[in-house]
Amino acid sequence: MRVYLRYAVKETLTNLWRNRMMTIAAVLTVAVSLSLVGAALLLKQSAAQASAQWQQGTRVTIWMQPTATQSELANVQNQLSTLPIVKNCTFFTQAQDYQEALKILPPSESSVLHVSDMPSSFRCVPTVPSNAFVVESTFATQPGVYRVTAPEQQIRQMNRAIRILQVVFLALAAVLLLSATVLILNTIRMAIFARRREVSVMKLVGATNWFIRVPYMTEGFLQGLIGSLIAVGAVTALHTWYPLHNEFQLNTNALLGTNAVVLVAGVAIGSVGSAIAIRRFLDV
């Protein structure tokens, strides 16, 4: 067993070193394609998380001026209660909105806020989501109203943009993953070709098929693994340093899950590539 391990390790490393240009190309292609896959997965998860947070509750928010008078507030509230397209409304005081802002904004931004700067707001649920626009147009120009926002519409637009981005990422990644597999396959094929004399002698003297195969299998496996480790680094860096709003910020579990997918995919690509090469070109 020890003889075997030493042999397999030595052969694998020799093969990788001999074919180093091809190896680098294969590893980098795996790394780039899996980084794209990882990024697409992160994007999908944070978008889902953000829209889940935003969609529960308010569909239309009427932000009042911080300086709005009691009569202006009462006026808006009256109109809302009589409007048939509005199902119900909740009034948030300046203090409540301030508390919420503290939760949503990063400390660097929320620390400059004061309660008196904050608008008070009416959070309303329209009977049908599309009525959010009617509410918006009715109240945007009323005295004391700062502005009206309908987050759902924005979420929808954002989701569409994210979906397109995701499809583009995944399509690119699919093409790159295919070429990575072919590159690995080709590297292994060259390694097999370079060692055809050794292989024929090994068969002759009775080396077992697995003994002959394993160095090539580990070679492909290692290329996939190294490529995916680079991709894991890239995905983690993206997650750590790319500035996102709190709603988008994913927890560590989501990152770990994404990295696990990336690792498994890399190892799978390497193994599949070398398995095909071995089946087709290593006659054992």
């Binding site: 004399r197 002698v201 002759l204 003297v205 002959i212």
Partner: protein, 232 residues
């Protein structure tokens, strides 16, 4: 030790290589396989190595039908068979020592075995002083001795030789034959395919002659070709 029972083999292109061959070779025998090119000698050896399977008939080695052997056991069969070829088949980038050691390493023998067996076998073939040379630095005769050392280092039960003297001058052929005889005396069954008439005639060993895939002669102390007209 080796038994062919009504073995036939036809290649995919339709050429019959062996036709209804029945041969029995005992343990410790030295057998010459003679016949023109294309008479089936090489197919005979390839069948013994299970590089091919017979279309009809059975081949028994050490009492076991090798046709029913599952493919993962084939390497273990081959560990009992040493092979020598006309073109030596040495690895050009490995030293003489490493070429012989390779045969032990790839079947998982521990380093201690390699270190004790390889010098011993190189001594036997008379190349102890060339252990560190590359095959390219050796003469043809010496290279073939390395190949014999590699084939025998694992002490196989059977040694197959396919025209081992085909590329050698008479003097070197003598050395190889002396070596094969010596190996045969240790109890190893030797099967040698050859074209070398003088050699077969002088050795006076069992001769099996193949012609178009059929055994036309099986003679206990035979010569190369008794019926062959002398060409002047």
């Amino acid at each position: 030790m080796i038994r062919f029972e009504n073995v036939s083999k036809t290649y995919k292109n339709g050429t019959p290589a062996l036709r209804d061959v029945t041969v029995n070779i005992d343990k410790g025998e030295f057998v010459f396989l003679v016949g023109a090119s294309g008479s089936g000698k090489t197919t005979f050896l390839r069948l013994l190595l299970r590089e091919e399977l017979p279309d009809k008939g059975r081949i028994l080695e050490a009492g076991r039908d090798i046709g029913t052997l599952s493919s993962w056991r084939v390497p273990y069969l081959r560990r009992n068979i040493g092979c020598v070829f006309q073109d030596f088949r040495l690895l050009p980038n490995k030293s003489v020592f490493d070429n012989v050691a390779f045969a032990l390493e790839v079947i998982g023998r521990p380093r201690s075995t390699v270190e004790s067996q390889v010098p011993q076998i190189l001594d036997l073939v008379g190349l102890a002083d060339k252990a560190r040379n590359l095959p390219g630095e050796l003469s043809g005769g010496e290279q073939q001795r390395v190949a014999v050392a590699r084939a025998f280092v694992n002490r196989p039960l059977i040694l197959l030789a396919d025209e081992p003297t085909g590329n050698l001058d008479p003097t070197n052929s003598e050395v190889i034959m002396a070596l094969l005889e010596r190996i045969n005396r240790t109890g190893t069954t030797v099967v040698m395919a050859t074209h070398d008439k003088a050699l077969v005639d002088r050795m006076r060993r069992r001769v099996i002659e193949l012609d178009h895939g059929e055994v036309v002669r099986d003679q206990a102390r035979g010569v190369y070709g008794i019926d062959e007209p002398v060409i002047r």
